[in-house]
Structure formats: C-alpha cells, structure tokens
Symmetry: C2
C-alpha cells in the first residue's frame, strides 16, 4: 500500500476557491499514484483558512485575566476544524472518497501544555480503519488531545509538525508539504536572481537554514522528520514543480561545498567590553536575559589581551534590544564599555560538504575581503558558518558568496 | 445541590461585549443562588455568535455535489465551539471557576442523522465529575456525537433542545433560556400595545403558540421539556425581569379562558371545489404535496350539499404556493374549481381554560362579527381555535380579541 501525506498551509487555503484548488492538487497526486499502484491511501493535513487564526486569537485576547489556556485552545482549534470539513467536502465534490477526522478522533495524543502542546503519540488504528471506507482522511493540523481528554493546540507552525507526525504514525511513503514557494533555494531569489531551487537537502542542512531565516519549515517539524526518517517534500501549491526533498544523507547524494546561504537582518549586536574574565560571568549576563524570554542567537567571546578582562558579543532580535539593554544595566557585572549596533546583517552559509571540503572558511573570508566587506563576528558549527557584517553589505555579501560557491 | 442550566442564543452572544454581558448574567444568577444554598453548580449552553452559523453554512454550500452531511456538521459545529470557549474565558475573567466541554466530551449522544440529529442520551457522569473542579461547565448547543463517534448537529433551533436535554440529564432545578424578548406575551406587543408578559404558561399552550408564530422556543424543545417535566424559564438578557415560566399544569395556576393570541400572515389558502367525495381522495391530494416537502398547516373539509362532491381547503406557506399548485395540477383527481388566496391571515387563540370555560368559540365569533370581520375557515383543537380571515383584518382582529378576552 502506498501511503501519501499532504499538508496545506493557511495561504493555500485562503478562501473557498483556494480550497477547491488545493483539493484538485490532492486529487491529481492521488490519481497519479493510483496509476502506478492499485492500493493508495492518503492523509491530508490542513491549517486554518488564511488569517482566521489571527481573528480567533484576537477574540480570545479580549478576556485576558485568569484565563485558562484550555479554553483558549477550544476556540483556536475551531479554525482548523472548519478547513478540515471544507476540504473533505471539496474532495467529495471531486468524487474522492474523503472524510474529516478531528484531533480527538484520530486521536493525536499530546502532553497537557495547552497552546504549546507537543505530540506524544498517534496510534494508527483509527486511521487504518477509516481507510477501509475512505481513500483520503482529512485531519486538522495544529491540534490534539491532552491526557485528560481536552483539546490542545501545538503553537504556531504546528500544522507542519502534525503532518510529519502523522506520516511517522502510518509509515507514509512521502509527506508533501505544499507552500507558496517552489522549494528551498540556494539563496533568497529576491536577493540573488540566479539562486536555484534545490532538488534535495539533508535534514541537518534544513535545520540550520530553518533557524536562520529560510522560514519555510518549522525547526520542530524538521527535527521530528529527521528523528523518524520521514521523507518530506516541500512543493509549490501553484505549479507542478517537484519542489525540494528533505531526507537523510545518502551516498548517492552529491555533496556541494555549500547548499544554501541565508541572510537575516532583524538582529542587533550587543558588545560588552572589558568584562571581568572569571567563571560564572557568562551565566550572570545570560540568565537574567533568558528570564525575560529574550532569545539570544550568536554568542562570541574572545580571549582578551590582558587575560584579566574579556569582550562578549551577542545578538538578539532588534525588537528585544531595548528590553535587553535594561536587563544588562540592572545586572551586577562590571564592564568598561557597552556598545550596541542595530545595523548588522547575519550571513550564514550552510552545507554538509563543509565537513569534507577543506578551506571553505578561508575561501569565504577571502571572497568578502576581495569585495571590501568587513567581518565583525564569526561563529561556526559543523555544517554552518555565520558572519555578522554591516547591514548595508548584507545583500551584496550573499550575491558574492553565491557566485563564488554555487555558480562556480 | 442546586443545579442551574442557562442557555444563551446567538443574538445574546453577537460580539465579545455581548458575551461579557452574558457572562455577567451567569455570574449574577450563580451568586444569587449561592447566597441561599451553599452547593450550586451550573451548566451554560451557548449558540454560535450572532450570524456566524449563516457564514459557515454559506461556506459549506460552495461545495454542493456529492457532499456528505458528516463534514458539513464538522464545519457548522465550530461556531458553537468558539462561543463555548469564549464564554468559559469570559466567566474565568469574572472569577468563576468555569471550563468548556464539547458535545463529544460530555458526551451528548445523538442518532446518526447528520445536520438533523436527535439527542438519544446524555450520561451525567462526566458533567458531575467536572463539577468537582469547576462550578460552571459551558457546553456548545446544537451539537452532539453519533453512534460511530462523529460530530453531529441538531438542526436550527437545536441549542434550546440541548439546554433542556442537559437539564433533564442532570435533573436541573431550572432551565433558564435567555432571549432578546421579555418572555411570552398574550399577543405580539407590536400589534397589541396593551399585551402583557405572562408569568407562566403550560407546555401544551406553549406548543400551540410555538407552532403558530410566537417563535420564541422551538416546538421540539418544548416537547422534550414537557416529556421530562423540566421547568423552563424564558428570560430577557437585557433586564432582570422574571420572564415566563413553562411548567406542567398545576392546581395553583389560575386559568384564564385565553392565554395568548397568535397572528400569522405568511400562509396562503388553497381551495379545491367539487372534489369527488370518496375514501382516499384526501390521501391523493396530500401525499404528493408532502413528497415535495411542502408543509400543510390547516386542513378543513366540509360535508357537501349534494353528498357526492366535497370542498377541501388547506393552507401552505406563501413561498410554497407556486410549487403546491404545480403538484395539484399534476394530481389525478377531478375537481370543479381550484381557488387560491395569498391574502389571508391566521388568528389563533390558545388557552387551556377553553376546556373548562364554555362558550369561548361563540364569544370569539361574536367579537369578530361585531367588528364586521368575516371568518373564512375555522379549525379547532382542545386548547386552540384557529381562524382564517382576510389579511387586512389580521391585526385588528387580534386587538379586538385581546380586548374582549384578556383585558376584560
């Protein structure tokens, strides 16, 4: 039996015409597989229509004090319930034997953390039973059921996770995530016109790109796909391109030095100069920051010349800069100077090929130097190099790197 | 333990302010009872907000062919799900320990007739268990769960039925139905300014009035209340008036001759003259009409002068007149003439007092005669007399009858 999971996001379900179009995509893929193989069964995961989740959130926010997240989830989950019913109706109209099953019917078990629940288990029993009467089961994304039998929601971006978790539960042959882009590009095509859509990418590379501005798939969903080895394909809703396949690294996959380049310019840089160089200083800085729910991205600390003091540089989201500065000023640490810079861009180059291709970093630095672009901060991981540069150089840097590494 | 059921309709939940106001009404009633009795528990039943059901119906109607009612119900039930969550949040904000439970959680068992399901059973176990942690459980009206565990909806007006069925399940002390009117009036106050709100009314009287244009409570809900002897009170949302209590006839209740007068002017009269007077003719006329789902209201057949032919008069909704005429013309019966009149009004006087007060009918006919109003058709039941008169006389007739019987 071929088992196909397909997921459609809110922009692909913006209105009734869009749902009808998405239903046609489901039908095409289903019939296509049926030609090759007699026994095909499908699961379709849907987000809420267009901006309906925003509208529901706004309604719940009218009642702020003493609120239980439980009832907030009851309201929010209704958005996906509506689109699941409408998608099932649209599929029936296309003569596909389809029906909707809600999170509590599947059931999609989650923990009890309302509004940020995590999926704990999806038994395949009820889905397999429903497949006896229907070819396609439509399941609302983003929702599940808690141990005490209440509706939970998974947080924004949860629908992708629902799709991958369902694909794992039924051992799907493929999990197609339909989006409004053609797939994963080597760089943002608006910045680099010659950027090309990748046929394939490894989970690890996607994780680095997902957390770096290529916000096509939620990190959480990629982690789950990687842990359960689910082949996930990002496909466009609007054309028949094959999209980008996420899978494990295999011997057959070619290994270019760099797979993709990401640019992020919504971060601000904070530098503490002349911080006392002793154990516990980093914790004294970053603990109060995290307590304010401010997320810190890059952290770089250099050995200082005098070996008594050191310089610490880190980045936060621009929107968090003011509140982060307040935390630092209330912090009982001593430093000689505090500098901030909101005019920075972070350029990250990602590629599993770095592990085997020597000299990527030096070629990268040389490429930027040749174009007079100064590097402020460098941070590296096994398959990623991130650079902080002046914001005005961001796009040019991406183009030069793309030309040097990918268009070679 | 005092058990209070309260139900709010869509107009009482039109927007977030209206929900907040309804939550205040719940709180007031709850605290009021708590002063008299320590142990008070409540159930609040809610309809969908304002016109949200119309919006959801419109969405489902985009997909007409091959549609399963099952998925239609999934979409429709979301409206009450949203309002139940918002009501629970609004109650929590008022420091009431409240939570929402959906139809499948209660569970409200129904038959499998999607979109027109009937409630078959509501076990009280889960509600009683939830009352250990919460004082008020908010339940969406209009929805339940089928024997094969799918969401069902009860059809329009189903939320009142949900409230009464829940009141029966938990043996509630009172079922308060909040509406946008003050209660049941002796006549439509827009027609008869001196009409007064009734303190009480029997189920039987309400049934006659409910099917006659005083469309405050659905017949189905009144029938259930009567069968299970549930005290139901119609109360205004906007003021603290006591409203009208529906209950069984008791010795203590005064028995005026007439309780209420209803006027309906959306019916049309059809008369078949000279129909052959033999067994089976009535069936030949009305079977094809009912097969077209046309609802027939009054049916009057007179003994004819020649004992060979008879005249049959009946009424249908004005909107059904054209299609009904088509059915009759296709009908294999012979008649001498066919007459229709869309300019009729039906005046019905209802009162259990009729059973003991002789001469109501003659006084009624005399009242209309004194004002020169001609009666076209008369139909009676045990506690009701319905008259068909010219539409132009409708409002005047109601005023004269009200003056003669109720303002006496």
């Amino acid at each position: 039996m071929y088992r196909l999971v397909q997921k459609f996001g809110g922009t692909s379900l913006a209105d009734l015409d869009a749902i009808r179009h998405a239903a046609l995509r489901v039908k095409e893929a289903f019939l296509d597989k049926q030609q090759a193989q007699a026994d095909v069964k499908g699961l379709v995961v849907v987000s809420a229509m267009g901006d309906s989740t925003d509208r529901l959130v706004a309604q719940t926010q009218a009642y702020t004090s003493n609120c239980q997240q439980r009832d907030y989830d009851v309201v929010l989950a209704s958005g996906e319930q509506v689109s699941s019913g409408l998608m099932a109706l649209a599929l029936c109209q296309q003569n596909i034997r389809a029906c909707a099953m809600q999170g509590w019917q599947v059931p999609i078990y989650t923990d009890g953390n309302h509004s940020t629940a995590r999926i704990t288990d999806i038994p395949q029993k009820n889905i397999v039973a429903a497949w006896r009467s229907y070819d396609i089961i439509v399941v609302p994304g983003f929702q599940g059921i808690s141990p005490d039998q209440h509706i939970t929601t998974l947080g924004r971006g949860g629908s992708d996770t629902t799709a991958v978790a369902l694909a794992a539960a039924v051992q799907a042959d493929i999990c197609d995530i339909y989006t409004d882009v053609d797939g994963i590009y080597t760089a943002d095509p608006r910045v680099v016109p010659s950027a090309r859509c990748l046929d394939q990418i490894t989970y690890e590379e996607m994780l680095e790109l997902a957390s770096l501005g290529a916000r096509v798939l939620h990190t959480r969903c990629v982690e789950l796909a990687m842990a359960r080895s689910i082949p996930v394909r990002l496909r466009p809703t609007t054309n028949n391109n094959e999209g980008t396949l996420l899978q494990q690294e295999g011997a057959s996959m070619e290994q270019p030095a760099i797979t993709g380049i990401a640019l992020e310019d919504d971060e601000a840089k904070i530098t503490l100069l002349g911080v006392q160089d002793r154990p516990g200083v980093a914790a004294q800085i970053f603990t109060p920051i995290s307590e304010q729910h401010i997320s810190v991205d890059m952290i770089v600390q250099n050995v200082s010349a005098d070996k008594k003091t050191t310089d610490v540089t880190f980045t936060v989201a621009k929107k968090d800069l003011a509140s982060c500065m307040k935390v630092i000023k209330d912090c009982p640490i001593t430093y000689s100077a505090l500098r901030t810079d909101a005019n920075v861009a972070k350029v990250s180059v990602v590629g599993r090929g770095m592990r085997s291709h020597a000299g990527i970093a030096s070629k990268l630095f040389a490429t930027l130097a040749a174009h007079g672009i100064n590097i402020q901060v460098i941070s590296t991981s096994e398959i990623k190099i991130s650079l902080l540069i002046d914001q005005s150089n961001g796009k040019a840097a991406v183009r030069h790197i793309h030309k040097a590494f990918i268009e070679q």
